[in-house]
Symmetry: D2
Amino acid sequence: MNEVVSMSNLLRTAFINTRQKTIALAEPLSEADMTIQAAEFVSPGKWHLAHTSWFFEEFMLRPLGISFVQSESYRFLFNSYYETIGKRQPQYARGLITRPALAEVLEYREAVNQAVLKLINAGLDNHQLEILEIGINHEQQHQELFLTDILYNLAQNPLYPAYIPAPQDVIKKNVAHSTDSVITFAGGLCSIGHEASGFSFDNELPSHLVFLQPYGLSRHLVTNAEWVEFIEDGGYQTPLLWLADGWKKLKEEDWQMPLYWQKQDEYLAYGLHGLRALDLQAPVSHISFFEADAFARWAGKRLPTEAEWEVAARTSDPESELQDLYQSVWQWTASPYVAYPGFKAATGAVGEYNGKFMNGQYVLRGSSFATPASHARVSYRNFFYPHQRWQFNGLRLAEAA
Amino acid sequence: MNEVVSMSNLLRTAFINTRQKTIALAEPLSEADMTIQAAEFVSPGKWHLAHTSWFFEEFMLRPLGISFVQSESYRFLFNSYYETIGKRQPQYARGLITRPALAEVLEYREAVNQAVLKLINAGLDNHQLEILEIGINHEQQHQELFLTDILYNLAQNPLYPAYIPAPQDVIKKNVAHSTDSVITFAGGLCSIGHEASGFSFDNELPSHLVFLQPYGLSRHLVTNAEWVEFIEDGGYQTPLLWLADGWKKLKEEDWQMPLYWQKQDEYLAYGLHGLRALDLQAPVSHISFFEADAFARWAGKRLPTEAEWEVAARTSDPESELQDLYQSVWQWTASPYVAYPGFKAATGAVGEYNGKFMNGQYVLRGSSFATPASHARVSYRNFFYPHQRWQFNGLRLAEAA
Amino acid sequence: MNEVVSMSNLLRTAFINTRQKTIALAEPLSEADMTIQAAEFVSPGKWHLAHTSWFFEEFMLRPLGISFVQSESYRFLFNSYYETIGKRQPQYARGLITRPALAEVLEYREAVNQAVLKLINAGLDNHQLEILEIGINHEQQHQELFLTDILYNLAQNPLYPAYIPAPQDVIKKNVAHSTDSVITFAGGLCSIGHEASGFSFDNELPSHLVFLQPYGLSRHLVTNAEWVEFIEDGGYQTPLLWLADGWKKLKEEDWQMPLYWQKQDEYLAYGLHGLRALDLQAPVSHISFFEADAFARWAGKRLPTEAEWEVAARTSDPESELQDLYQSVWQWTASPYVAYPGFKAATGAVGEYNGKFMNGQYVLRGSSFATPASHARVSYRNFFYPHQRWQFNGLRLAEAA
Amino acid sequence: MNEVVSMSNLLRTAFINTRQKTIALAEPLSEADMTIQAAEFVSPGKWHLAHTSWFFEEFMLRPLGISFVQSESYRFLFNSYYETIGKRQPQYARGLITRPALAEVLEYREAVNQAVLKLINAGLDNHQLEILEIGINHEQQHQELFLTDILYNLAQNPLYPAYIPAPQDVIKKNVAHSTDSVITFAGGLCSIGHEASGFSFDNELPSHLVFLQPYGLSRHLVTNAEWVEFIEDGGYQTPLLWLADGWKKLKEEDWQMPLYWQKQDEYLAYGLHGLRALDLQAPVSHISFFEADAFARWAGKRLPTEAEWEVAARTSDPESELQDLYQSVWQWTASPYVAYPGFKAATGAVGEYNGKFMNGQYVLRGSSFATPASHARVSYRNFFYPHQRWQFNGLRLAEAA
């Protein structure tokens, strides 16, 4: 009981913080910025604000009969993909919803907040605690998506507006790595997946054994400087480096460098601070799996599997060994996103959260600078399609030991 | 000289009124409403505000060396289709421009207003007067497009928001017409096109002779009640009533009634006042040429040619004969939009205004309730593609006399 | 009565000759050549053979209860676009019909021939004579389409096979024309359209008056040499020469020269004799309306209207005045393909022959080398969409007199 | 040396038999049947005949300087996807190649045969033996594709022609299985992949250890009768049974039953013998991975991984335990098609054979009735995209033990 109480307190704080942080992310943006949607795979900022609130309403409040005047229309407008819940606004048309206005969505958020807090204060049962925890984690995921989507939307503007101004006095880490700085791991029968305590999504379960051969991982992430080498060595013109599907995509979309890069006299990259000179020492970002895979082949290496990444992350010293495992860029792995042996989707509508996307995507591990720190963990499985480039996704190389 | 002065005074007033009216049209809308673009063929409200200002800047101010801090980027963002002027934001992506903000565009409008008025006050030469007049007429066209585009954009919202609330106490005209109320005209060698005095676009010139056979025109426009008959008689299921291209479009887009209509227990129509019961006595609107043509065939009649329409409008009494020639809905004609014999496009970039669109479109005559009254005239040639339905377009029937 | 008999005899001969000529056109082709379809707008050779036979079956034999074992499936497979007749093989999928085999289609043709001839020998009533005449004219149209379609299909083969070898010893006409060789016409109130006697399609009727201003037509057709000048003067890079729809198409399909042309060291053109050096003195062919229109603008002239063409052709001496009116290339006019005043579509299914295509197309006049000579006449209205290029279509320039 | 000689003799026989069998497969088809291509993912019969010959020319003969008059053009026309070798006919346009004629392709096949046999008779070195073996296996793969592609091409014909008539007196096996006939396996650390001796493709290597949990496999393949139950229980209308990508595909293409099935009064299925009543006891075929996966979920089971399949096939008695492992239909597994740990693509152009397709596809195991018996083996990894349905692909269910 005490454990539930303290859990409840922890989640109360997490709920408040998470809800506030989402609002803070929207601070620098106009209502127009928050409304548009430049491609089917991104969502408007306002939609993220509403959808993450709808999630709490749908799964925590509605079962208790709590709803709001706007509930019926919002249920249609802000459901993402839950078939169980019914019809919804088509994903490609989320950017046409100018009403409700942003102010109305903010009011709705506040109403949901009050209702949830009232519930927390009254005491939650275990199922409600679980939903609350999922809802917080869900909103944390959307915080990162909020930024990647806003970046993509603003990037369509030929004026290249900055989301926020760049800080004046960044002291850059002196990244003095050499390509041979490889850390080796013995492999063998290893365990991966989420262990019993603490929150995880269903796709991290069950923990299970895998058999690995000896392998090595690069201490550092691949950098922009290394990526420029790849470009200038003809990486984007050499079909034999690429998977057939990747080469097809490259041709169709005329890829010549990462998303948001331009080449004028020097390389420029558009980011949250606007269009700026490329930081050569920073890890490369906004690359697809296809590009990561081609780069690895060009470098005479390969991408790690997710099991290799997780075993390494569990067993190495982050100071002296593998760097930037978290809070830099997500790291593409060679592993298609499939169910772990014995995987069981959660019951009810939240069972649609992960399992039904287990096709055609690849797992990314670690986390990015845009991931809430409390959201990252060693067993976390992020996933995207191999051609997608608008996320903060980079890579770390692997090889046989 | 006096004539120029008085012309200058008239245009000064017209300029001020036109510029104010555009702003008034935007009054009921949020910044988000003004930003989005639901299809390539519509433009955002904000874009209309900026583009009509850019037109004055580009053609009146820039030749005098007058420009603004934002001129270079706005030239790219708000040029519509002038190849002479250079590259521009692609039409399909106008709805992704959240910056400049609406407030910035309003400031830009004001700056253009001040600069133009200063110029007018200093005295305009004949060429400048001409450009000013074109600019005013251009903006009047966009006032109608502003409404049709806003309507289309808002119509994508499943909540069906109203642009403005419906007036409380409309007294409807009692439209007591019979289908046999046909006015006949003798035809013969007739003159059409704009005569010397007053403004016209280049496509209304030159005035020229055409030979017409005797014909009749319906006194009234086709009404919603008549259109319901057409629907319920299987009009949308009978291929032999339709042009082949029209039938193909109908199948592709599953047309079953005019744009913005729904059938629940009764017919509803979405419009500037929201979703409301269909007004059976009102003229039908939001139909394509293909539908107008099929309706005419179903009714055993045909559409008039633009020459028939113009000759009739020039020679009949609007009180006792043809009704609703203007200020109701535009009237589709059977005439493809082509150059009049001896047509010469205007010189300079404004020469791109009309001529290059003379393919694949049909002429509409008259004007709609959304057309500024001073913008309508007997020789006016409006034009749209035969499948387009988002304008305030209806029809009047014709037949051999 | 005698007139009918002699008409019957004439049509008997025409029927036999037309049916034989179609077979002769297929002579140089393999079964595979006759089966494929490289684009939706072309049809397989075998389909043309079957469809022209089905036309006689459907409209002459079936009303008498005559049909064949294959009739039901052929009715589905070889109906072109007659909604009245029922469902049919989709146009884009005609090239997937490998069965019936070519030999079976030839047998079907022969069976139809025998049945029609038996009917002719037994004596036809007026309606049957009319259908027979339409059927012959219909097949003559398909003879030209057969060649344009085969050319298009073979052109997709990187080996550029010749349909037939080039003749060895062509003596070319010495075409010594100057661009100023313009023939002028007075205009005024003129009559166009088919007059009472002899066959015509419904779209050539009724004969009617039009008012023309004085105009001039070039004595000669535009040649390949002139077209090369247009290309090398940047004609395909200058948007102001083009209609907006034309420029869009040019960009989408990357037009740089007429269809079937290539530039290596010199210009080459693919044609029925294979890939050969461009004949500079020959009239240009395989151009779209958009290209013809842009060329005329570049040359400071314009395309003639169809009325101008017809009046000129009716009143000028083909030896000393206008050359190559017929049997060279079809000539694009500036006239959209619409109904003549008072047009009435034929009754029954053949009423779908022309009228329903009166949208978005332009009229061509004259005839090409591939048109059966007996099929050409001064009132003939051929029509294609403005972007279509696979026909033997060229142009003759016009100007104000 | 003797081993090489005997290997050479074996391969000589295999080469002759394989080359003859391909010709035999084409026996029932016309030149037109062999020419067309109904979708980008199938190839024309003639293309298969030419491509499999080109493979021997390119990889065995050309390195020795042996080529044919047609080599240059055939190299362009009949290269499939080898970037190393240069430009090629686009895959979607293979069905437009009417020349070379079928007879010419047959001559080319014969010329290649003679040249290869001459080489074999003169003695092959190890590398040549390897290429010969790959070439034979490659042609065996195309024998199955030949049938699946011909079936797809003929299926577009509304007459539903049979490839070959059905045999008169098939005695059907009495399949008396119950759904609970599950064979269990202990799992643990197991070895999969091709062992040292005998031919394999590079993607079956290297043999390696995997860790498996205990599992069960159904003794029998899922039957048409069971699939009918799935359909009639609403399987194709229940989104929760489907992967999100699968449900999207189902909606886009309106899947309601396996490819080639129809429902009239009863279920019919089109196959190599034409359109016939569905054989309820036969294993279901022509299903996509998405359908197989949804069926398994509906049945409360899952698909096996490829490792589970292989370990079971290596260790069970095909008579008394798992049935129809081979020569019935391929069996979808849950395993994405990726490289085995330590995979190395073959060197040279044949290195493009497998590795570059390792994205987005799923592994199938076993073989179908159309697979040459000598081509099937326990480590064989067939692969297709999860939406593809035109192969002879079915499923076997798995579950936790």
